[in-house]
C-alpha cells in the first residue's frame, strides 16, 4: 500500500515538472513600432518619436520658416546634440529622425558631413584613376554650403521621493542662420515620466 502511494507521488511530481517545463520558455512577437506604452522612466522609442514629430511640426509651420521655404528649399546641416542628461542616449538617432522628416516634407535640403570621407575617396577615384570620363567626373570644390545649422540641447531633471521617480526631459532645438548668426526658429519639447513603486502587484 505504501509502495503504491510513493509511486503515485513520484509520478505526480514527474508529471508536474514536465508540465512546468512545457510552459517555461521565451515568447517572441512583433510589437507596434509606434507604441506609446512606457516601460520605464528612461528615454524610450516613443519619447524619440514624440520629440521628432513635435519639433518638425513646429518648424515647418512657423510663419517666417513658411515664408523662407515658400519659393526655395534652403540647405541645412545638423550639429551634434549636446546631451546633458545622465543617460547614454544615441542622440544622433533623434536628429536622424528629425532630418528624415524635414527632407520628406520637401521644404529643406541637407548636407551630411558624416559621409565626407567616402565622398572624398569617390571623387579622388573619379579624378585620378583614369577610369571615369572627364565630362561626367565630379570635380572638387563644387558642393553647396549650408545656409542654416540645426542645433540641439537635451537635458533631464530627475527627482526621487519614496517609491516615486519623476523624470522631466527637455529637448531644445534651434535653427541658426550661418551668415548672420541669427536664430530664425527655436522650440522645445517637454516630456514627463513618472514611475511609482507599489508594494503589492505590478
Amino acid at each position: 500500500m505504501r509502495k503504491t502511494h510513493t509511486r503515485m507521488i513520484v509520478i505526480g511530481v514527474l508529471a508536474g515538472s514536465l508540465t512546468l517545463t512545457g510552459c517555461a520558455g521565451t515568447t517572441v512577437q512583433y510589437g507596434d513600432a509606434g507604441s506609446a506604452k512606457p516601460i520605464s522612466t528612461e528615454f524610450g522609442s516613443s519619447d524619440l518619436q514624440q520629440i521628432a514629430e513635435s519639433l518638425v511640426d513646429s518648424m515647418t509651420t512657423f510663419p517666417p520658416v513658411v515664408e523662407l521655404t515658400g519659393k526655395r528649399r534652403p540647405v541645412l546641416t545638423v550639429d551634434k546634440v549636446k546631451n546633458k542628461t545622465m543617460q547614454h542616449i544615441d542622440t544622433e538617432s533623434i536628429t536622424d529622425s528629425i532630418r528624415a522628416r524635414l527632407i520628406k516634407s520637401g521644404k529643406f535640403r541637407f548636407i551630411d558631413r558624416t559621409t565626407d570621407d567616402q565622398a572624398i575617396e569617390e571623387i579622388k577615384i573619379q579624378q585620378e584613376s583614369g577610369l571615369v570620363d572627364k565630362a561626367t567626373a565630379v570635380e572638387f570644390g563644387k558642393q553647396s554650403g549650408a545656409e542654416f545649422l540645426l542645433t540641439a540641447n537635451f537635458s533631464e531633471i530627475k527627482q526621487k521621493a519614496g517609491g516615486v521617480t519623476d523624470v522631466y526631459y527637455k529637448f531644445t532645438m534651434s535653427l541658426k542662420n550661418l551668415k548672420t548668426g541669427i536664430l530664425e526658429w527655436s522650440d522645445e519639447k517637454e516630456i514627463r515620466k513618472i514611475a511609482k513603486k507599489s508594494l503589492f502587484g505590478g
Binding site: 509606434g34 514624440q50 514629430e53 509651420t61 515658400g70
Partner: protein, 143 residues
C-alpha cells in the same frame, strides 16, 4: 449538477479571457478638405466611436484645419465627460487627394492626459504638401 459546473467553468474562462485582452476600439475623427460653391476651402467632418466606454468618457467638440503655406494643419478639440483624470493615446494619419496614406505607419501614438471635465486641443501638421485629409485615431492606453 455536472452541466451547471461545466457552464460555470466556461463562464469563468470567458471572463478570464476578456479581462486578459484589452479592447483596442477607439474613436476615429476624419477631416477631409473640400471646396464649396464659392470656391472656398471647407472641411468635411466625420466622427466614429468604436467603443461605447470611450463615447461616455470623451467628446470631440470640433475639428479644424488651416494651411501653413502649403502644409495642411489639423486641430481637434476634445472634452472629457469624466470627473476623474483620464489617459488616452492618439495619432494623426494623413491622406492625399486620392485617399492614399502619406508615409503609412510613420506616425506614432502620443499620450494625452485630460483632467476632470477638461477641454483640450491637440494639433498636428501634415508630413508634406500632398495631404488633403487627416484622420485622428484615439484609444485607451495599451495595457
Amino acid at each position: 449538477m455536472r452541466t451547471r459546473l461545466a457552464l460555470a467553468c466556461v463562464m469563468v474562462a470567458v471572463l478570464g479571457i476578456s479581462c486578459g485582452c484589452s479592447t483596442t476600439g477607439g474613436l476615429e475623427a476624419t477631416g477631409t478638405t473640400a471646396w464649396n460653391d464659392e470656391g472656398a476651402r471647407v472641411l468635411a467632418k466625420r466622427v466614429v466611436y468604436n467603443s461605447g466606454s470611450l463615447k461616455g468618457d470623451l467628446e470631440v467638440v470640433d475639428l479644424k484645419s488651416v494651411l501653413a503655406g502649403d502644409l495642411m494643419r489639423a486641430q481637434a478639440t476634445l472634452r472629457s465627460r469624466d470627473r476623474d483624470t483620464l489617459s488616452f493615446e492618439y495619432r494623426f494619419e494623413w491622406f492625399d487627394l486620392n485617399g492614399i496614406e502619406i508615409g503609412a505607419g510613420s506616425s506614432s501614438w502620443k499620450p494625452l492626459i485630460l483632467i476632470g471635465n477638461e477641454t483640450k486641443s491637440i494639433q498636428a501638421s501634415a508630413p508634406d504638401p500632398r495631404a488633403r485629409e487627416f484622420k485622428l485615431k484615439l484609444r485607451e492606453p495599451e495595457q
